[in-house]
């Protein structure tokens, strides 16, 4: 199952709360996360890794970033 989280415009710690919530519902697969600040990009990547997910790729997306995390 794949899903998308739009965390653009949200301040700390909400992007991480959204990602943690989604990780709880979804045990594996891919999650795409949209963020608009470097802090959110770092925090989301760190949180995903701490839960055993792999940061597959991080791309520039407009003024922000698109992060894809994966778990087998």
């Amino acid at each position: 199952m794949n899903s998308t989280i739009d965390a653009r415009g949200l301040s700390c710690p909400q992007p991480v709360i959204l990602v943690m919530g989604k990780i709880k519902e979804q045990a594996s697969g891919a999650i795409e996360i949209l963020v608009d600040t470097d802090t959110a990009r770092e925090n989301v990547s760190r949180a995903a890794k701490s839960k055993g997910w792999k940061v597959d790729r991080t791309e520039q997306d407009g003024a922000g970033y698109r992060i894809v995390i994966l778990k087998e």
Binding site: G9, L10, E42, R46
Partner: protein
């Protein structure tokens, strides 16, 4: 996009905490008040005094460190292409949270940075303040778990994002246009304390330089004292906490070297021994920081990288300092102010209502 920002790594944030702790002890050695090498709340309060927003004569000085924090963060954000003007996430709520955060901090007599510096200087009354801070942040996380949000910010123009850095630059010019005159309480439009904590400061250029360095490093590392506690409680993460522990440890070591360490509950500089109110004041501050998403230092660095909502929080803190001293809410070495208890109670009710009321599903 840089993938190798050292300061945002585990050792990076620890280094930044260590540098802040060391430089705070150095600033105290060079003239800043006791256990107040750096205090964001106290220094913003001194700025409110310098501008005449309150007339508490002992706490009036346009602290260059604060201006340096904003400008250093601004320059670092520009340099590393992280200047992202944004605004519009419940500004009035952020203003009120800033005001009550300041009122709570001035009942304790310090922001979280100073709470850590007081501990590092041997002031045991700070333990109650830190306990209150942890408790307040914990209450804030309960709201966060239940869907509390201030809503999304929108990208805005560079002009809007640059207002706070340019305000800092303007105030810095004031310091050069209206410099302190020995023994005089006023110079042009600025007030200067002749005695009391506001009269104690390192030289302008040293304070400014240290402010710029700390501002740049903190912006890059995302150093945040409230975030350190919140992430531990909410996610079990210790990333930011490493920075805070390093701050305490290095300030402690530097205080030992400079002969600034003095262990005890009594006779501590700019502190009082009303333990309950130290706890309650910081509970209010911690809850307000938690609901606003950052400690006072972090809000300054965010305002430097173009976050207009963080800038509103900072202005709220300055306004809160003016209320605190005009209405007798702020504490002194003798204890809490005449209306300090009432203000803490009011602030807690307001913050709880905000935490309860600002919930949204499917933001």
């Amino acid at each position: 996009m840089r993938m190798n920002n050292f300061l945002a790594s585990r050792w990076g944030i620890i280094s930044v905490g260590a540098v802040i702790g060391l430089l705070a002890a150095v600033l105290q050695k060079l003239g800043n008040p006791g256990n107040m090498g750096i205090c964001v709340a106290c220094f913003e309060r001194d700025i409110a005094g310098a501008l005449g927003l309150h007339r508490a004569e002992a706490v009036q000085y346009l602290r260059p460190e604060i201006l340096g924090f904003v400008l250093g963060a601004f320059l670092a954000a520009l340099l590393f292409r992280e200047f992202k003007p944004r605004a519009g996430s419940a500004p009035i709520v952020r203003f009120i949270l800033g005001a009550f955060a300041m009122i709570g901090a001035l009942v304790f007599l310090g922001c979280p940075w100073r709470a850590m510096l007081r501990l590092a200087g041997g002031d045991l009354t700070a333990v109650l303040g830190i306990a209150g801070l942890v408790f307040g942040v914990w209450v804030g996380t309960l709201f966060l778990k239940n869907g509390y949000t201030l809503g999304r910010a929108q990208a805005t123009s560079k002009t809007a994002g640059a207002i706070m850095p340019f305000m800092a630059l303007g105030l810095l010019l004031f310091l050069f246009i209206y410099p302190q005159i020995q023994g005089e309480g006023v110079s042009g439009v600025l007030f200067y304390s002749v005695k009391g904590p506001g009269s104690m400061h390192a030289s302008l250029l040293v304070s400014l330089a240290i402010g710029l360095v700390v501002g740049g490093m903190a912006q890059q590392s995302r150093f945040c004292t409230m975030g350190a506690l919140r992430d531990l409680v909410l996610f079990g993460q210790t990333h930011l906490l490493g920075g805070v522990i390093a701050l305490v440890l290095f300030a402690f070591l530097a205080n030992l070297v400079f002969g600034q360490f003095n262990l005890g509950f009594t006779g501590q500089p700019v502190a009082h021994t009303m333990h309950f109110w130290n706890f309650a004041g910081m509970t209010l501050a911690g809850l307000a920081f938690s609901l606003a998403g950052g400690c006072p230092g972090r809000q300054l660095f965010l305002s430097g990288e173009g976050d207009g909502d963080a800038a509103v929080f900072v202005i709220g803190m300055v306004a809160g300092a003016a209320f605190a001293h005009n209405f007798g809410l702020a504490s002194s070495a003798a204890g809490i102010g005449p209306l300090g208890a009432a203000a803490v109670g009011t602030g807690l009710v307001v913050c709880l209502l905000i935490g309860w009321g600002m919930r949204a599903k499917g933001i």
